[in-house]
Symmetry: C2
Subunit: 339 residues, 2 copies
DNA sequence: CTGAAAGCGCTAACAC
DNA sequence: GTGTTAGCGCTTTCAG
């Protein structure tokens, strides 16, 4: 393995100069820098990150903790973070908890503490005070996605406003019997996303002078299958069949479209459907939805962190950053049957 | 930050003993070990991975390189690898190339070389000789998933056999006009998966005395939309409509099912469909498919690597490991219309 | 079974 | 702008 002193010798300078030239910290004359870079290139020298980290205290590595990886939202957040990190020369150490409590414990009590990361991004994880305390004890920056978390900077989406926007789209089209497929209670643990979306839905309705009918609410598990079953219940009801459905995830919305088809209903002629996410399949199904840009979220979290890692950083002013969202109208929504 | 000497002092032993007690390398009396462990626990001591790695040369970290992350197959491989690594106390550093050539270069020429990983797993990446050479120069173990790669140990699935099995399932049911939706040529770069699956399909047909009709082949891009379009072409043909479709991915198979429905055809009464993958949605659509267990693949790759990293390792005997696969029969396949 | 001490390869004061 | 030098926090011979 070629080391820094091989380069120093070849270039006729000291190791300190090599370090400075290659890292950009400290001043080096352009000529020397060029020579050093050339020699380093020829020799194929790459700094040993361990030695460098040990000496400098900087790891050039950030930890990303996600509850699952094989879901559209999370893999996209990670992909966005990865891209931004690569650009900054940082590595990304991934911790996917896979819903396992023991794994979560071991990650927070052991893995994250071994001084391997400069900062951590926690995605959709409602950190408990103990977890936050451990992380803070490390004096490493931490940002959450999906907050708010007490005492932690977070990127947060306004779920109430998201749901409201989706529902208002339907109201504006003239729908009055609007159903909602939300999350079930187990999923409410992290940040009450289901509750907040339901709240936004209800606010929109009451704002339009409509009392949210309990019969038009169904809980599901955010999957296609769950949405399918819930929509069957809703659309099969002989008395109060809704003319529109707002689903708290695109997968459930897609399930709803499939359920409608299986019942012989045509979307959007007989029933309008709007989802939430802008999942990769949304476009194929012509699904109207609220986009929430997970890749952007990952990139933004990295940006905040890298910025904070810059030397001479004042305390960050803003504690919370709002995640943007957008209504994307496709072909699953239209005016209701009778105009 | 509590360091090893804090623990040593508290426990009344030397730092060497603490190191031995906590790492398990070298002998320590049970009594001492217990005392050290207790003190370390009380103090909340966690080794600094940098210092440890620098001194020992072991990183307890492996790099996983994937072409994309937001696809069912890759995120599941990573999830499997993650689980196995966590168990072994290893970190997982992720490099998702996102199909970007510059990123790929920078990962192979820079990131992977900074001595941060003990080994690397390359998923569905046909490493070029230069990339392999760099990695070998590091003297780090390397395993590929999806091989074969010249000079690299790989986990390989027998794509020919997979396709053959799928096709034979259809033949056994009595189908004779069997179409195939395979990959297009751009996707053939890595390991010729599309070509091999097509080959297996053709072998099965000729084995049954049927000449593969060129009109019954369509190329697509492995997505639902691509499968949908391809199936429309196949099923819309007024003269040679196939009674069954074998798709090289579940997403394309699902697209085919949707296309059939849109044409008013009933699956499996009018047309049978079999996919490849056992994607999470396969079950919902009742899709008959060939499962290929991506999580298992990730775990297995880790297992091979961790085994090799054990001190005193002889050269690995087997160069290639076969990935298991299984026909899963659901409700998308049945005998053809006329029996 | 345990301790002393020499590094691992680099960075960061501090001089010049 | 550049060299000298003292560590960074651990692991690992080598003694005992």
């Amino acid at each position: 393995m070629v080391g820094i002193d091989d380069v120093a010798r070849q270039a006729g300078v000291s190791t300190a100069t090599v370090s400075r030239a290659l890292s950009g910290n400290g001043h080096v004359s352009p000529a020397t820098r060029l020579r050093v870079e050339t020699v380093a290139g020829e020799l194929g020298y790459v700094v040993s990150s361990n030695a460098s980290s040990l000496a400098s205290g900087r790891m050039k590595n950030i930890g990303v903790v996600v509850p699952f990886l094989d879901r559209w939202f999370f893999s996209n957040v990670v992909e966005g973070a990865q891209k931004a990190l690569l650009r900054g020369g940082f590595d990304l150490t991934l911790y996917s908890l896979a819903g396992d409590y023991d794994e979560r414990r071991s990650v927070f009590e052991h893995f994250l503490l071994r001084q391997r990361v400069d900062a951590v991004i926690a995605v959709s994880l409602e950190l408990n005070p103990d977890e936050v305390a451990r992380l803070h004890a490390l004096e490493k920056p931490l940002v959450g996605i999906g907050g708010p978390i007490a005492g932690v900077r977070t990127l947060t989406i306004d779920d109430v406003a998201v749901a409201r926007l989706a529902t208002e789209h339907l109201l504006a089209l003239g729908h009055t019997r609007i159903a909602h497929i939300g999350g079930n209670l187990e999923l409410d643990l992290d940040f009450h996303l289901p509750t907040n979306r339901r709240l936004g839905y209800e606010l929109a309705l009451t704002g339009a002078g409509i009392t949210p009918p309990p019969a038009l609410f169904q809980a599901a598990d955010f999957t296609v299958r769950g949405g399918y079953q819930a929509a069957k219940q809703l659309l099969g009801n002989p008395h109060e069949r809704p003319s529109a459905i707002f689903a708290a995830s695109d997968e459930m919305a897609i399930g709803s479209i499939l359920a409608a088809r299986d019942l012989g209903l045509v979307v959007p002629r007989d029933v309008s459907v709007v989802g939430t996410d802008d999942h990769e399949l949304a476009d194929f199904f012509g699904l109207t939805t609220i986009a929430q840009f997970p890749q952007w979220q990952g990139e933004k979290a990295v940006e905040i962190l890298l910025d904070e890692l810059q030397p001479g950083k004042h305390d960050p002013v803003e504690l919370d950053t709002a995640i943007p969202f957008d209504l994307i109208v496709r072909s699953s929504t239209a005016r209701p049957p009778q105009g």
